[in-house]
Assembly symmetry: C2
Homo-oligomer: 337 residues x 2
């Protein structure tokens, strides 16, 4: 299987991206990475590393799309960008099984939708990160996290079905789906949720566990949290911000007295473990769920380690062969017209 990697997307591209792709190849068997971008630069970078040359390919793409560019315009005007070339390959070449990029989120989403295309039956794809929970063995999908700022009921229903298809593909039996709301009672919600709730409640093929509040997202009591892209983005970023503030205050506290400094030294490993546990962005990217092949958006500030983990994630997702399963799931809900 071949995994396309956007060598020219992200704050640390191309150096860290290429290093991450090579680290992935050196750490695990069973796939080839295809680096997309300026061939001369990639070739020069590759000289730094030892690796099995039969497992690393290059596809030349002379242009780069930056985060400052308007996504739709950039995708249209830069057919030779690493993003556009990668999506074309992904669409046309059966060997290419998935794509990893740390580039402009907007351009990745627009490019995936326009160039790669949606899975049959999908109304709107969604951006779906995997978050850690208080329970070590439990992860949670939060979707949509920003691809669709305004959603219709069918979108949230499809997010529930697509999330379920992915969770099932990962071996989670009867995955629990919750609807993010402003209260846990059935009657809570905004107008959108009021329409969605009864549909999810009566929908076959998902295990709907009801409304949850923002504070419940990480409690490990659901596998999938469904929401519109605006609220989902705010929830995700609010969680990130709160974790950052707590860690900052702890750091300030540790430096505040000699006693605290000693305590901090004894807890150094523990804090490392905690940081590692909470730093979900380092463990992989957000899946763009609903397009024809797995597209995974890694954080813009991705390091080589992140890219390595995201390549592993791409290999896993590619193995699920999910498109048919999603189409099958989506057939369970036909909106009344």
């Amino acid at each position: 299987m071949k995994i396309l990697v956007d060598a020219f997307g992200g704050d640390n591209s191309p150096v860290q991206i290429i290093q991450g792709a090579i680290d992935a190849v050196n750490a695990r068997d069973g796939f080839t990475v295809v680096l997309v971008g300026k061939e001369d630069v990639i070739k020069e970078e590759l000289k730094k590393y030892k690796f099995d040359a039969s497992r690393v390919e290059i596809i030349h793409a002379p242009e780069v799309i930056t985060c400052e560019e308007e996504p739709t315009v950039a995708i249209r005007k830069k057919p030779d960008s690493s993003l556009c070339v990668a999506f074309k390959e992904l669409k046309e070449n059966d060997e290419m099984k998935a794509f990893v990029s740390a580039g402009s989120t907007g351009a990745v989403l627009v490019g995936a939708t326009l160039k790669l295309g949606r899975i049959k039956g999908v109304n709107r794809p969604a951006l779906c990160p995997t978050l850690p929970t208080a329970d070590d063995n439990q992860k949670v999908y939060l979707l949509d996290c920003g691809a669709n700022a305004d959603c219709k009921p069918i979108n949230l229903v499809q997010f529930a079905l697509m999330g379920t298809a992915y969770a099932e593909a990962q071996g989670i039996e009867n995955p629990r789906v919750a609807l993010l709301s402003n209260g846990t009672e059935d009657e809570k919600g905004n107008m959108l949720n009021h329409e969605v709730f009864p549909i999810l409640k009566n929908l076959k093929g998902i295990n709907f566990v009801g409304n949850i509040e923002g504070r419940d997202i990480l409690n490990g009591k659901q596998d999938i949290v469904v929401t519109d892209g605006f609220a989902g983005n705010i929830a995700l970023k609010s969680i990130e911000g709160a974790v950052g503030v707590v860690m900052k205050i702890i750091k300030q506290g540790i430096y505040s007295s000699t006693k605290a400094k000693i305590g901090g030294l004894f807890l150094k490993d523990t804090f490392g473990t905690i940081r590692n546990k909470l730093d979900y962005q380092n463990k992989g990217g957000a899946l763009f769920i609903g397009v024809n092949k797995p597209v995974i958006k890694a954080h813009g500030s991705s390091t080589a380690e992140t890219i390595m983990n995201t390549v592993f994630q791409a290999v896993d997702y590619a193995g699920f062969n999910i498109a048919d399963k999603i189409t099958e799931k989506l057939a369970l809900y036909t909106p009344e017209v």
Copy 2:
């Protein structure tokens, strides 16, 4: 000045509520607390404490509204509840300057709107907690946090103006107003935000600093964060949940090894300070901004300490005489019809 306290609202009522009110009276001068609820029970509880009897009054209210009741129905059907009696007093008695309740959020909001009434010019009042930030001396208002799940542009614009009026009343010069969105760029947002952004940008009488993401809420770079009640509730609860999960993981980490346990002992005071810093709910309640007198909703699980702090907060807010200032601010924006 007299502050009404709902003695029969909240998980720990009436015992902790009454204790908190008495603690407030014993800790600070300059106000009287008026306990509203079952007179015989309150009188019996008061026997436990020493206090200046001239500063504690009771108004009898035989009924109680619980969190399980539908707010609108409960407010209509229980005119003799502590909530309804308190709102009647607050409206009709000039001596009564503010109201504190740890009871049903829905019933407090509905009661305040229906019985006490909105300040002239206010379209929809908003629930507005004060959150801590990474910077010790900096607080941030987040509104609306749940009173209005679905908002129109005028609501968000008025939240910005009302928040500004409160911040100015507290001596904050030129308070910074941010719009919560799914990205910091001007063009980010859902349909609601797209309408609101240009209005805020051109509005005189506020200091609009643009869009912020969920991760920025606690960064201390704005005094007021404006959003609809659905997204605001999700942001607030997501922050709460994330803080809880981090503290839980730290606790697990500390118990994981002897070395970590020793570190934990040395850091005990530091963690206490951190918990205290982040536990904004213990420092007061959420102001219901836009009704005729200050109504402050304390958390349902409020202890005596929370109630004491919320009474202090009520005394402060009552001193602002905010209604006229809000009406004045709101006149700065007249929506085009």
